[in-house]
């Protein structure tokens, strides 16, 4: 038998109810599809006293158009997102990223909210209780030292969600609903560069929806990831690009990375290419810029050196594809 540690399950029908239940129950956590949360509970990493299931809340479950863009509810599944015609047309990187997550069964019930709130990952952490205990655990959970950088007090577990970079190049915003207030922030402000505490979410806040602004609709964009196998696996490095051209020169270029830092990251300095032509020389410089901002550590079976190279190669490949020069 595979019984999980004991907890009380709640299945609220509204966001307000969910927030109230969270406030009333010490040690509560939210549950969406469970493709990260239940795995971590089975491995003894998460031991919530209460689980608040968000899957029965209708308002979180749809994608619709509003005046300023497309609103995607947090409980929308990855399969729904990948198959949505308007998303694929206007925000192609987002649809490509959704389709590249895990495998088809995971995408049938894994959600957008769960993907953005995904825990950070490391080969010393995403292991069974038995494995971790025989390795004296690690800083991120129960242990004293970090096996990746044993001298320090920081955790470098990599943020490995595929959607975030694709949403970031399209300037997505998110709506958070907490016990006291509702706030709307740029997705970029949701993440912190700390493998142990990577979400700037307040206690009890629910990620209610993602807003893809109209201003970036229709801008050519793409997402690609490197993974061990062609399906199921998390990225060892992932990159989204958005490129618009005007009169033969670059009008707007945005690059965002995942799986190489504790947070997804918009590459700084791409504005310097504005006005430039997309050519070999420019792509070399871009590849160098992107890979210099990737700071992978030995958190996967693949070496940091390789993952940095992959970031450079993906930047080159995707921007060449978007500029249609290949």
């Amino acid at each position: 038998m595979e019984y999980l540690p004991k907890f009380q399950l709640f299945r609220p029908l509204s966001v307000e109810q969910a927030a109230a239940l969270y406030a009333e129950n010490d040690g509560a956590r939210f549950l969406a599809g469970g493709t990260d949360m239940i795995v971590n509970m089975r491995r003894g990493i998460e031991t919530p006293a209460a689980l608040i299931d968000l899957s029965q809340i209708p308002e979180l479950g749809d994608i619709h158009e509003e005046n300023d863009g497309m609103r995607i509810g947090a409980a929308v599944t990855l399969e729904q997102l990948a198959a949505h015609a308007a998303i694929a047309r206007d925000y192609p990187a987002v649809a490509e990223a959704a389709a590249a997550i895990a495998g088809p069964t995971h995408r049938a019930y894994g959600t957008v909210g769960g993907n953005l709130c995904l825990d950070t990952r490391c080969i010393f952490y995403n292991q069974s209780e038995w494995w971790r205990s025989s390795n004296a655990y690690c800083l991120k959970h129960r242990g004293e030292i970090c096996h990746v950088a044993p001298g320090g007090q920081a955790c470098f577990a990599a943020y490995s969600g595929d959607l975030a970079p694709a949403l970031l190049v399209h300037d997505a915003r998110i709506e958070l609903i907490g016990p006291e207030r509702r706030r709307d922030i740029p997705l970029g402000d949701f993440f912190r560069d700390d493998g142990m505490d990577h979400l700037a979410i307040e206690k009890g806040e629910i990620l209610a929806s993602v807003m893809l602004p109209k201003a970036s609709a229709g801008a050519p964009s793409a997402y690609a990831k490197s993974r061990i196998r062609g399906a199921i696996d998390f990225p060892v490095a992932g990159l989204a690009a958005l490129l618009t051209l005007r009169g033969g020169g670059i009008e707007k270029l945005r690059i965002a990375l995942t799986a190489v830092n504790p947070r997804p990251l918009v590459v700084d300095g791409t504005d310097a290419f504005n006005g430039a032509e997309v050519n070999d020389n420019m792509l070399d410089k871009l590849a160098e810029l992107a890979s210099s901002q990737a700071k992978p550590m030995t958190t996967t079976t693949v070496s940091p050196w390789y993952r940095r190279r992959v970031i450079g190669a993906l930047a080159r490949r995707l921007v060449a594809r978007l500029a249609e020069i290949e």
Partner: protein, 156 residues
């Protein structure tokens, strides 16, 4: 903590009191005795536990039993009608899609889910729809042939 649930399993209505922390796979195997659904890994990696919930493939090892309240759950046992194997079961039998057989119930349910959405899948469609399922034995060629056999049988 236990919670009452009302659901159908392979078309039969059931009511049970289940612990909040019980996984669907344990409910199927331990409470109901349907041991066709397998556990092959410690969470979401292998697909051996794949069942259909409300017609969609789902990992029974990552799903809470209480979460299936009000829904239709289908397992490999539900495919056989009056002792006759279904098309997809015959496919795995005829094309030797099973070797040790441990991944087979999950493979069959993932394929069943596909065939209901798309009755004449291309090889690419089959590969894409079954990419959450891992087989330790067959090398996958026979599994793809098994699904193709079933699609042909259904077309007749």
């Amino acid at each position: 903590m236990t919670t009452p649930i009302n659901l159908t399993v392979n078309g039969r209505r059931r009511q049970d009191m289940v612990p909040d922390n019980m996984l669907l796979v344990d409910y199927l195997r331990e409470t109901i005795g349907l041991t066709g659904t397998k556990i092959g890994c410690d969470g979401g990696e292998c697909g051996a536990c794949t069942v259909l919930v409300a017609g969609d493939p789902r990992h029974a090892c990552l799903t809470l039993a209480v979460g299936c309240d009000g829904l239709d759950v289908e397992t490999v046992e539900g495919l056989t009608t009056s002792g006759r194997l279904s098309a997809i079961q015959r496919g795995f039998h005829e094309k030797l899609g099973a070797q040790c057989g441990f991944c087979t119930p999950g493979m069959i349910m993932a394929a069943e889910g596909l065939l209901r959405r798309n009755a004449s899948p291309s090889e690419q469609d089959i590969r894409a729809a079954m990419a959450s399922n891992i087989c330790r034995c067959t090398g996958y060629v026979k599994i793809i042939e098994s699904v193709q056999f079933a699609a042909k049988a259904l077309a007749k």
